[in-house]
């Protein structure tokens, strides 16, 4: 309990993307939606973060250096506290097999790029 002031438990989101501008834009939108956002630049960083912290939702890009999105999701699902956490992928195309791959890796759902801020917030609301 924080001393003084109203205690609002904010919903925590982990954002994984190697593009700084993407992280900034999406991060800002999510923050303006009232969420607490943590960022990681690739799968390795994200996994390390997840091992030490608990979030309510993970949003990850697919194409990243060191460890790509699919591998990250597979690894996350092995962690006991991330088994059922919603994970959304950011895909650049509307392709069926990218989505299929995501599902097989254990993703909850996807968001297609490019997207507008409104759509992002609505999708996040859906999954929480």
């Amino acid at each position: 309990m924080e001393p003084g002031g109203a205690d609002r438990k904010k919903i925590k989101i982990l954002l994984v993307d190697d593009s700084a501008s993407m992280r900034e834009m999406v991060g800002f939108t999510l923050k303006s939606g009232g969420y607490e956002v943590s960022q990681a630049t690739d799968g390795v960083e994200a996994l390390a973060f997840a091992r030490a912290h608990q979030v309510n939702l993970v949003i990850t890009d697919i194409n990243m250096p060191n460890m790509d999105g699919f591998s990250l999701i597979r690894e996350l699902r092995k962690l006991p506290n991330y088994k059922y956490i919603p994970i959304l992928t950011l895909t650049t195309e509307d392709s069926a097999d990218k989505k299929q791959q995501g599902q097989q890796a254990g993703a909850t759902g996807w968001i297609v790029k490019p997207f507008d801020p409104e759509h992002l917030l609505q999708t996040v609301k859906r999954v929480l």
Binding site: M25, K83, I85, I87, Q103, G106, T108, P117
Partner: protein
Amino acid sequence: MAVDFDLSQFHDLFFEESAEGLTTMESGLLNLRTDAPDLEVINMVFRAAHSIKGGAGTFGFNEVAHFTHILETLLDEMRDRKRGVTQELIDLLLESVDGLRYMLDCSRSGRAMDMQRVRTLEQRLATLPREAHDEGEARWQIKFIPRPHLLKTGNDPYRIFRELQAAGGLTVRANAQRVPDLAALDPEELHLDWELYLKAGETTEASIRELFAWVEGDCDLQITLLGERRHRVERRKRREPEAGEPEAEASRAQEQASIRVNIDKIDGLINLVGELVITQSILTRIASDHALEDRAEKLKWVVGILERNTNELQDHAMRIRMLPIDYTFNRLPRLVRDLSRSLGKQVELKISGNSTEVDKTVLEKISDPLVHLIRNAVDHGIEKPEARLAADKPAQGLIEVSAHQEGGNIIIRISDDGAGLNPERILAKAREHGLVAENEELTTAEIQNLIFQPGFSTATEVSNISGRGVGMDVVRRNINDLGGHIELASEPGRGSTFNIKLPLTLAILDGQLIRIGREVFIVPLLNIVESIQPRRSSVLEVTGKNEVYRFRDQYIPVIRLYQWFSIPSGNSELERGLLVVVEAGEQRAALFVDEVLGQQQVVIKSLEANYRQVGGLSGATILGDGTVAMIIDVPGLIQMIRAGKAVRIAV
């Protein structure tokens, strides 16, 4: 020695009575209609079940008693209207009657009962959904059978159901039959499947499938439409005049400088302003950082958020000043009751849409006109009961008042089923007053609109209550002052309807942009009749400088705005510009402009507050590109023309 009652001698009687009871239940259930369930029939079935239960308990047939108790409970809920009567329910009850018959047979003959059969029936009875579906109403049946590993993708069926429920009217039935015994159960696997029923409304199958998009590959999904789709009928709320209701304090039209606002509205506003400040600072940072990569793309993104912020903010800010129109509507029932009583008439008042919100100022100013229209309706509209009966109408007259929102306006409708406006009498009176020439032909609509002329009245007697009906011109003027207008539709003998259109808020205006020289002005759309290309042949010069233009068999004054507002303009020839024909009430004029630009909604900024009051202008606004545009006060301008003011206004 304990007395041993041998009740078995009574068994035969019990079984016979029960057989009769079962027949009663069966015929009752077969006759039960789902659209209009007969309470008496339900009661009859209930009583029969109750008797069987009582007897079974007394004679020790405990399984029968237990089972019948379940049926009795269901029937009790049905007659208390706590459970809707559906075809499903009736079918299941009939099956249960068969089951009961079986159980009684077993008890009578001494055979062992197949308890599995009984348990299954009991389970089905226990899991019946409670919600009543109108049988005729269309609904989607959704069978959702997920694969066991679904939860491992972080998906949760509950969230999908939650979204379905947002569409309204969802019933969910879970099937737990496949759940293995505790010993064999893997808690991370999902062994449930569901049958959902969703009120069809306007929902399409595609939109339902969309909600299941993320889990499509991991489940079996069947969607079927049951029943017929029907358009929803709007239901109106009836407002009964209450006995001895004192006139509410809130409805007294007092001009007040303060307003009561729900504190949530204020909090919401403060939050939005906070967001706006943040967005703005990001924007500033991005705009000033020249080294930033993808600057244009980022700017576009943040501007998108900014747009959302400001739209929400504007919305919320407007709503702060809004109050439900009920504040004025709620004085009407008492008014109607008192009035109808004193005039010896029977009038029913129906009010709907009283929760529609409207700006505080509009609310205050619409009160008197509304009261006046209602008074007229009771006094001159609705006939005395004898007259109504003679005209094949019910003795009781009906006045309906409704309010609803349409776009940026509120529409208030007042209609009565009274005598309507008699065109002959109106025309005669108009001729008497010299308003209409002897040989002039007018359409029925034009005649009826004559009642809005000042000093007009066809009331053959002066009634204390509404004066001489001179108020109609005042009513229209008040409504026009609010930026609205009033229309009349009337059928002699059938009744009249007044339609009033008002802007939701006085701070925003739908305007037509026009250009004069290099200046942009705004003419309220509400005042515009038509924009035309002027022809030299239709222009007439009257007494020197004043020009009039022939428009639809009328001569209307031409107002050269560049002269009025002293704008240096290259163009003084009418044919090279355009005429925007405007009207305020009955008066029309033609505004001479250089060009007609687009239309848009503008926020009105007060001139007095920022500068000073200027004749001919009702305010100003700042356009998207930052320039200031003045808003033309059409009624004011026209009035000045008529008063013969040839004043040049220097702005």
